[in-house]
Structures are given as C-alpha cells and as structure tokens.
C-alpha cells in the first residue's frame, strides 16, 4: 500500500478516527496519571496546598465583607419630626415609611419614650434634665433599610417631607467603612493573584518532572510524525485530572475546617454576647460557588501547568 492509498483510507475513516483518537488520549491520560503515581501525588499535594491557602484567604475576605455589610446595614437612619406636629401629620409620615419598599424595619419613638431613655441615660446628672419635659423633645422614627445603597436617596426624600425637622444619618463613618472595605478587597485581590501565579508555576514545575520522565517517548512520537496536539492532549488531561482531584480534596478539607471554625466562632460570640455583631457566613450559602471556583482554578492550573511543561519538549 503506498502513501496515497493510506491517505485515502484515513480520510474515509475520519469520524471513526477522531473517536479512536479521543479514546487513546483519555486512556493515555488516565494511565499516565496512574503510572506516574508518585509525581501525580506530588502535583496533587501542590494543588491542594495552594487551593487551601487560597481558600483560607477567600473565606476571610467573604466573611470580612459580609460582616462589614451587616454592620453597614445595622446603621440606623433617625427621622426627627417637628415638635409642634399634629398627630395626624405624624401618622401620615409613619404611613409613608411603612409603605416604602426600601424599608426593612422601623420603630416609632414617641416623645414620652424619648424622655424615658434620656432620663435613664442621665440618671446620675439629674440636674441636667431638670425642668425638661417630654414636650421639649421630638417624636422620631428609627429606620433600617433593606439595602444600604439606598440610604442617601432615602435620607434626602425624608428630609424634604413636610413636618420633618431633621434626618440623622452617619454619612462620614459609613463612607470610611466603605473605603476600608474597598481597600481590603483590592488588597486581597492582589494577594490572591500572587498566590495563583505562584501555584501555577509550582504545578508547572512538578508536571515538568512527569514530562521529563517521558521526554524520550515524546521525542520518538515527534520523529514518527505525531502532531503536537496528539502529544499534548494526554498531558493536558493528566493536568486536568490532577487539578480537579486537588480541587475536590481541598474543598472537602476547606468545608471541614470551615465548619469547625464556624461552630467555634459562633460559640465564642454567643458566650460574649456579640453574636449579633459578628456572624460567619454559613457554608451552605457559598459552598457551591466555592467548589466551582476551586474546580475551575484547579483544572486551569493543572492544564496550563502541563502545557507549559510539554512546550519545550515539542521543539524536536
């Protein structure tokens, strides 16, 4: 059979050929992972280690922003009414607040209640509040919004209402809080990126050992006329298998670790009575996303690492 005849049969069987090649690649990928078990385990532990460090940072960031956002949400908007406002007008304003979709909760504080609080607070300096009657004080609403972002618009609307004396909202401290949050986010992005780059290069180096052990095989394949991708795919798959397995193992480890940290922290905060202030994100809320992130990073790290490692040996 001459070359032309052979080429003819190749073309006829092109679909069959593809499936056969895919079978070969999948088989090679798995056998190689298994055959170089020690190397694969080395790469695997690298993936697990870097994903774990990555995961710890990720969970810290998630919880930090979660708690800062909660803190922001806990800041109240206080709407003070004019002192000589009629009961009807006050009820009208309350109705407005009640029907506003942005409002999460509100409490109405009557003059008497405000006076009672004041008396309680200044109990020791009673001469300060001598002669003060509830009539000197304003009626007020303490409001929590569903979404912190609505605060400024909501505050403006409230202060333009008839009968509203003043709206109290801690703009400055909130601004500072947002800035802090932004800086923390940016900083952690930098740290995470660095970590990922370091991880990829370590994995590339580990897979390079696997490739190096098989450089003869690659060389022979090149001489016989294998295409670059035909050589590359099994290594690619090997990298992906290692990356995905690493992601799976580190996810399980992260979940286990996080659950114990969560129950510890929740126990501690409960003990000190600050369980309303600090709260960890339950894993169930973010677990799925974290696993997807892990899997993507693991698979991408593994495959990029292997492609980087094979590249040099393809130039024969």
């Amino acid at each position: 059979m001459n070359t032309e005849e052979l080429f003819g049969t190749y073309r006829k069987g092109i679909i069959q050929m593809k499936i056969r090649t895919i079978k070969y690649i999948v088989k090679e990928g798995f056998t190689n992972t298994h055959r170089n078990l020690l190397m694969s385990l080395a790469s695997l532990s690298m993936v697990i280690a870097s994903l774990l460090v990555f995961g710890i940072f990720l969970m810290l960031i998630i919880n930090f922003s979660y708690n800062l956002n909660r803190l922001k949400a806990q800041v109240e908007i206080v709407v003070f009414l004019e002192k000589d406002i009629s009961r009807l007008e006050a009820d009208e304003i309350e109705l407005k607040i009640k029907n506003d979709e942005r409002v999460l909760t509100y409490t109405r504080i009557s003059k008497e209640q405000a006076y009672a609080t004041l008396v309680k607070e200044y109990l020791e300096d009673s001469d300060l509040i001598e002669g003060l009657t509830p009539d000197f004080l304003s009626e007020s609403f303490r409001i929590h919004l569903k979404n912190v972002e609505d605060s400024s618009a909501f505050t403006q609307e409230m202060s333009s209402l008839q009968g509203v004396e003043d709206v109290n909202y801690p703009y400055e401290s909130l601004k500072k809080l947002s800035t802090v949050l932004n800086w923390i986010n940016a900083g952690s992005m930098v740290v995470l990126t660095l970590l990922l780059i370091i991880s990829v290069s370590i994995i590339a180096n580990t897979i390079k050992l696997t490739v190096f052990a098989r450089r003869k095989e690659i060389e022979i394949m090149k001489y016989i006329g294998a295409s670059d991708w035909f050589i590359r795919w099994p290594f690619f798959l090997e990298g992906m298998i290692i990356g995905f397995t690493g992601a799976l193992v580190s996810f399980i480890l992260t979940s286990y670790l996080y659950n114990s940290v969560e129950s510890y922290v929740n126990g501690q905060t409960l003990e000190y009575g600050i369980n309303d202030l600090i709260k960890l994100v339950p894993l169930g809320n973010v677990g799925g996303q974290i696993f997807i992130i892990y899997a993507i990073i693991g698979v991408v790290m593994g495959s990029i690492g292997s492609v980087i490692s094979v590249r040099k040996h393809l130039n024969v």
Binding site: M1, L6, Y10, M17, R35, Y223, I224, G225, S227, D228
Partner: protein
Amino acid sequence: MIEFRNVTKLYQNGCVGLQNATFKIEKGEFVFIVGPSGSGKSTLLKLMLREEVPTEGEVYVNEFSIHDMPRREVPYLRRGLGVVFQDFRLLPNKTVYENVAFAMQIVEAQPKDIRRQVPVALALVGLSKKAKVYPDQLSGGEQQRVALARAIVNNPSVLLADEPTGNLDPETSWEIMSLLDEINQRGTTVIVATHEKNIVDQMKKRVFNLEYGRIIRDVQEGNYTNED
C-alpha cells in the same frame, strides 16, 4: 526524491554543520554518508527531518520545502520518512508488537490496518516470534530490528538511518545492513550515515564523503575512502 541546493547550516555557537552542499537523491537510491565525527553527517539527516532549518539554501524532501515550511506541517513530512538511530529508541514499557503498532497509532491509522501491517513488518525483520517480548529481553541487534520494523511500518518513501550499527558487533551489523538493503530493494530510498568501512566497501553503493561540513566526494558504487 531529496534535493539540496547550496545548503549551509551554521549553528548558533558558531559551529559549521554543513557548507554549500548541493546534491540530489532519486527515489529508490541507497546512499552511504561517511566521514569523521563532527563532519556533518548528522546535520545532513537532521535537515531532511527538519529537526534543523538550513541557514542558507534550499532543501526539498518528497513534496516538502524544508527551508520555508510552517511548523504544523512537520508531522506530515515525517510521516513519509522512517528513522532509525544508533541507540534504537524503543519504548521500554511496550512490547515489540506495541512498539511497532505505536508508530501506526500516532498517525491515527485504522485498527484493521494496524493488525494487518504490524505482523508484516515484524516478519520482514524476522521477529514474528518475539512480538510479545519487551525490548530489555532482546539483544542489541534484535532491538535495532524492532526499530527498523517501526520505521517501515507506515510505508515511508525514505528511510533515514543515523549510525544504525554503531552499538552492534560486526556480525549483527551485517544483518542490519542486509535488512536495509532488502528494504531498499522493495523501493524505499535508504540513506545511512555510518562508520562501517568494511560494509561500505563491500556493498558498492553511492557514497558521500563529508569533511568539515563539505561534501568532498560523491561517487556511485564507491568505497569508504579514496585510496583503494
């Protein structure tokens, strides 16, 4: 058909691989390339395989122009060339049969063609009975015969051999050379770089003498050296 036109190969470290080489090898020829170590024998073969690219001049192998050829076409050039090396280069974790079949697998041949052609190639080199043996259980000569079977199993039009008998004793060397001759009789162009003076002298084939990267002699039915 292989043609070199004024081909010069300079390496990056300043070494001269080949200097102004011009020659033509027709289909079905048998050529010995002889000369001292470092005279350019390997460079010549590497240029044909496009392992190296010429610094100057033009190289044609089959229908390919080596001097201006995109990298992605290299596998297709090599599928038309069989290669044999001094150190055999077999895969130790594959049997004799698998080593030969491997060459067909990676060019994505049909399984039925693989099943048909591998035994034919093994029979040609006389190793049918050792198909299931691993390379480390074979003698050097047998290993080189497996490499030969692997080189010809895809029916290449050209067979390149870089000192194929360099690691073998004289008797085994003769066996390998006769096999190469037999492959040549079947129509394959065979090019052999070698140091085997006796064999070259007795086989009476075309001989290229290389020295310092130059082809100083190109004779039909020639001897290893000028002096008889």
